[in-house]
């Protein structure tokens, strides 16, 4: 197994909510990230998926040290990134980079391409002007841009080219991790494939790891080695991508897959229409935060918070349904597949990996 680059332990972020004149009165807390654990392996991609407000972007910001965790830690090669100062922090910033969703907003309109791409190198220091210039040219070629354009400004480029510039800027300082926050969703459909292929090629060429924050499951399946599904600040399922897409276990994951759009009219699958909307993170439901919308909720689901536990090789789920299954099937001790398979049968609703069937479109 590939070695861990980033390990996240009990990562928690609460934002104080202030109201009133001057926002002085404290009005409680918003828990954006509620104690999550995951690992990003060297040279691989972990996807964080979920709907707006689930905490995926905040998690990305915590890894970039743009926010400070309320509890828990982020370890890079075993070292807590909060402890880094001075040179070590500079070093961290060059090892962990980011590409954001909207290349119209993320690139400074006042800077030339060469300065945008060189920024992280200059900040890191230790390179001559000549070395910086050579590296900028090299990395622009690697992302498929012409070096004739290094003196141009971002507005002279199309959306796809701008996103390539953003990727070049992230790549310049030889990072080990790039946080990709919805890297293609602002781009035109015919351009998305170009940028996704590029990101994959760069990964296999340079061994950079990605944390992919995304909502589109098709993008995730194409890009990610592992996938973590978030709901109201918690990980509800965390697994190898192929395992998860073929056998989604958590009822929320299943609903998310069922809501994803088909690639062909004959693949319109059974729909699990969730009642209601994601509750406010200011006032999350007790127990499993998904229970008010869950079609299989048990009495204990509204009381007890389920913990993320391994139910099969490379697959963990936070759901009481699978605990019941494993206690009924003690064979779970021998690798955990027995219990998981039993419960998989019970909840097999035909996600994208399952059998396709005609949906309500007819009639």
């Amino acid at each position: 197994m590939t070695e861990a680059l980033i390990t996240v332990e009990n990562l928690t972020k609460r934002f104080p909510i202030r109201r009133g004149l001057g926002f002085k009165r404290s009005a409680g807390q918003l828990t954006a990230v509620a104690g999550i654990d995951f690992t990003i392996r060297r040279g691989e991609t972990l996807a964080l998926v979920g709907e707006s407000g689930c905490g995926k972007t905040t998690t990305g910001r915590l890894l970039l040290r743009l926010d400070t965790p309320t509890e828990g830690r982020v370890l890079l090669d075993g070292e807590d990134i909060q402890d880094l100062t001075g040179e070590a922090l500079k070093d961290y910033r060059s090892r962990v980079q980011a590409v954001f969703q909207d290349p119209w907003e993320s690139l400074s309109p006042r800077m030339r391409v060469k300065d945008i791409v060189a920024e992280a190198l200059v900040a890191k220091g230790g390179m001559s002007r000549e070395q910086v210039r050579a590296r900028v040219a090299e990395v622009l070629v690697q992302v498929g841009l012409s070096t004739d354009m290094i003196r141009s400004y971002p507005h002279e480029f199309s959306g796809g080219q701008r996103q390539r510039i953003a990727v070049a800027a992230a790549l310049a300082s030889y990072p080990e991790l790039i946080v990709l926050d919805e890297p293609v969703s602002a781009l035109d459909v015919s351009i998305r494939a170009q940028v996704m292929n590029l990101l994959k090629d760069l990964q296999s060429q340079f061994g950079v790891a990605y944390l992919l924050v995304a909502h589109d499951l098709a993008t995730v399946r194409f890009m990610a080695h592992q996938t973590a599904v978030m709901y109201l600040g918690r990980l509800v399922e965390y697994a190898d991508t192929e395992e998860e897409f073929q056998h989604p276990l958590h009822p929320y994951t299943q609903a998310l897959f069922a809501a994803s759009l088909p690639s062909h009219p004959d693949l319109v699958h059974e729909e699990i229409v969730l009642a209601g909307e994601v509750p406010s993170p200011l006032d999350p439901p007790p127990g499993c935060t998904f229970h008010p919308r869950c079609p299989y909720a048990l009495p204990r689901c509204s009381v007890e918070i389920p913990v993320l536990r391994e139910v099969g090789p490379g697959q963990s789920v936070a759901c009481h349904l699978y605990e019941e299954a494993s206690s009924a099937a003690p064979s779970v001790d021998t690798g955990g597949t027995g219990g998981a398979n039993a419960s998989r049968d019970r909840l097999d609703l035909g996600g994208p990996g399952g059998s396709a069937s005609a949906d309500g479109m007819a009639g």
Partner: protein, 334 residues
Amino acid sequence: MNDGVPSGPRDLDVVLDVRGLRTSFLSDRGEVKAVDGVSFQLRRGETLGIVGESGCGKTVTALSIMRLLPRQSARTVGGEIWLGGRDLLTLSPREMRRVRGRQISMILQDPQTSLNPVFTVGNQVVEALETAHEGGTPELRQRAVGLLHDVNIAAPERRMRNYPHQLSGGMKQRVVGAIAIAGGPEVVIADEPTTALDVTIQLQYLRLLRDIQRRTNLSIIFITHDFGIIARMCDRVAVMYAGRIVEQGEIRDIFNSPSHPYTEALIKSVPKVEQRADRLPFIEGQPPGLGNWPAGCAFAERCVHRGEKCREHEYPPTVSLRPGHAVDCWRYLP
């Protein structure tokens, strides 16, 4: 082939007939074409998808049909738009106001901007009802409550008194839907109505539109950039590129045998949720911006099947491949 199409008795009457629509933006640099000869028909109870990338003219087509183009900067310079026995392009602004809401209405992408923040939900739905229904305010308010109920808004009486900011995004878009159908239109144009919504809320909304369509035999034009929405929602699809419909047909014809090189390449370039892939086929270059269209076939410079004809000749004529499936491409001509 018809298994995805609503079954049962179905009226195949054409309700909207757009012929040779041409719309241009007027700027200091002169006329810039945005829609360059678009023709299609919409039948009763049918959902037609218009799919394309930014700048292809799909939204301008919709605004031209609604006659909601900004008056100073854009003008429809040619074509006909037949709805209910009249060419909308010949109507006076006053006559057109009576058409909007009653015969045709539109749902925009962002519910935040299509609702007025300073009026209650109730006021806005009642206002939409007033365009088409007689009756005093109490009666219309009663109807408005019923309409909110129809779009699956819980506790509609209470929601009538809410302002838009008190509703979630999904709920706001359902209110916009209620307003769109308040006047009992035959045609609703939905321009990327679910782009701002989360996936599970998107599914709720798509189902709602389909339910309303089944109840009222509404015809829907669904404008999107997403082939997944086309696959799930539409009966037929028109693919736009550089201001023209380059291919149109029943969705299964388009997905099974996409015939315009652009359609084919675009469908292939989208990653599939059902299947793992190592690499995605992609289209070289980028979509042309407005008014930046090359002569001849605008897709030629990105096309893998490009022949000598494509750039030298004029724009290719429309070829009918099978009933209802038409494509603009020199490949199918001798």
